[in-house]
Symmetry: C2
Subunit: 330 residues, 2 copies
Amino acid sequence: MNKAILLANRPVGKPAESDFKFEDIDMPEAKDGEVLLKTTYVSVDPYLRGRMSDAKSYVPPFELNEPMSSAIIAEVTASNNQDFKAGDYVTAGLAWKLYQTSNGQGLTKVDPSVGLSAYLGVLGMTGLTALMGLQEIGKPKTGETLVVSGAAGAVGSIVGQIGKILGCKVIGIAGSDEKTALLKSKFGFDEAINYKTTKNMQEAIAAAAPDGVDIYFDNVGGDISDAVIFNMNKWGRIAICGTISSYNDTEASQGPRLQPYILKNSMLMQGFIVSNYAEKFPEGVKQLSDWLKAGKLQHAETIVDGFEQIPQAFMDLFEGKNEGKMVVKI
Amino acid sequence: MNKAILLANRPVGKPAESDFKFEDIDMPEAKDGEVLLKTTYVSVDPYLRGRMSDAKSYVPPFELNEPMSSAIIAEVTASNNQDFKAGDYVTAGLAWKLYQTSNGQGLTKVDPSVGLSAYLGVLGMTGLTALMGLQEIGKPKTGETLVVSGAAGAVGSIVGQIGKILGCKVIGIAGSDEKTALLKSKFGFDEAINYKTTKNMQEAIAAAAPDGVDIYFDNVGGDISDAVIFNMNKWGRIAICGTISSYNDTEASQGPRLQPYILKNSMLMQGFIVSNYAEKFPEGVKQLSDWLKAGKLQHAETIVDGFEQIPQAFMDLFEGKNEGKMVVKI
């Protein structure tokens, strides 16, 4: 009655179904000091692609033939730990299993009245990634122009909304007309560009940003980023949050060298992972909660049903099939 | 008896003799409030290449058929300005003329006892560029590894020495065995690599920097920079001071996309021009003077003789013919 999803093969290029293996495993029991957790929501995120490889990266790789893991919301179904009781909901980085035990370390209780999946999105790593990258690297000032790539994704849709709250002109780049419409109607972006139907991205960005681009929050890398960077102003800041266009590359892709542009405009380009700013998480979560409660942040999710759908939901990220945070409900 | 050097053509690719024009001009006279200046030393610098083009850049372009200009040391030969007297030496951004007048604005008196040309080098923009880029972007900490490209050049040779003063392991990259020998013997670099005779730069840097590279002070761009960047550690900082490898390019050169590496290692890449830090110049000049007087900074110059040699001295920068600051003595 218990199941796990293991890493069967390290993907070459795009991950495939055959890279994952479902396995029936024993139902665990909560020993003294432990809780039994039933998985409720599973976060699937592009960065997991890096952990499927054994190349040096900012997070350690998954082990072959061991369960994969990600941020998860779970229900406590039995507790021998005084800090938790049956019926509590918690979030943590947990294994892709239907049931697992925990000694309680690293578990954070969440409030189901807010909507459980929000803790995988706007109030979790997703929202903090958006806030930290924009605030600590982008340093937005009122009246500046912010471009966000992967704008309809989990992080991007929040970045753009925070940019608007902070007084920026916000331009989003996404991969379908449905997404660009949503960026403007639901998330309040000033402009949105569908890169799949735009012939000359550099010109399209120039037209959308007549005063040039001051801040670029980059989720994608590749040609799209070149087109944005060639439109940037003196003192431009580029926060590199993701390079999803390259995650499935089997060799380093080539592009125009950017250093001459970065030099000419005294620009800053900085890569980050949200945990770099861990000491700012408490104030960050408070800020995001305040905005959420005030109705200033719209929370978009693509929710897929069923444990067996986790690998497919993950693979769909690379096809851009999600709007906002991709979550699997069990 | 007076001469000027004009910009005759905007170069395509490498500057050539035909891009410059010598012209006999009238000898000026110092009017009321003015001084007559006799050019003594002329600084030639790679950034002037940018000003010869009319592409958008961080400094305005030179006008066609007008004199070029750069940092110059001049002697006051006649004065109708109470702030200056004949025999004073001054420095400023001045035209490439044997004689010119000035109303005194922007002229800084210099002390000939220190060696006049030092004010074009270690105590001038060159020294400040080295100090500001390393201090404000590189942020060196004791025990870290610093790589400098264009290390035998005017800025690079000072960057490496400051790195040593601040407790870094310093590795220099230069283009001849004479230069690499000088980096170690005269400037105190720990390691020096001749990129012209090294087959695999990435491996050579890895061997010289077994703990990885924390700071890269980049004067060159291109393949050399790729090789350094692929050896960088988490939290690595790249200060882009110049991209001399690309200055004569007629189209944007291609290279591996760097964003995935910058992301994985939470690295920072920032371009700068020394004037970004103008408010820190007084303390910077004081720091450099202290180190110079204490014998901690060796000052290297390549001095070429004769006004008519200015264009050739400038062109020689792109062939790496200088060791340290290239200066023309009139």
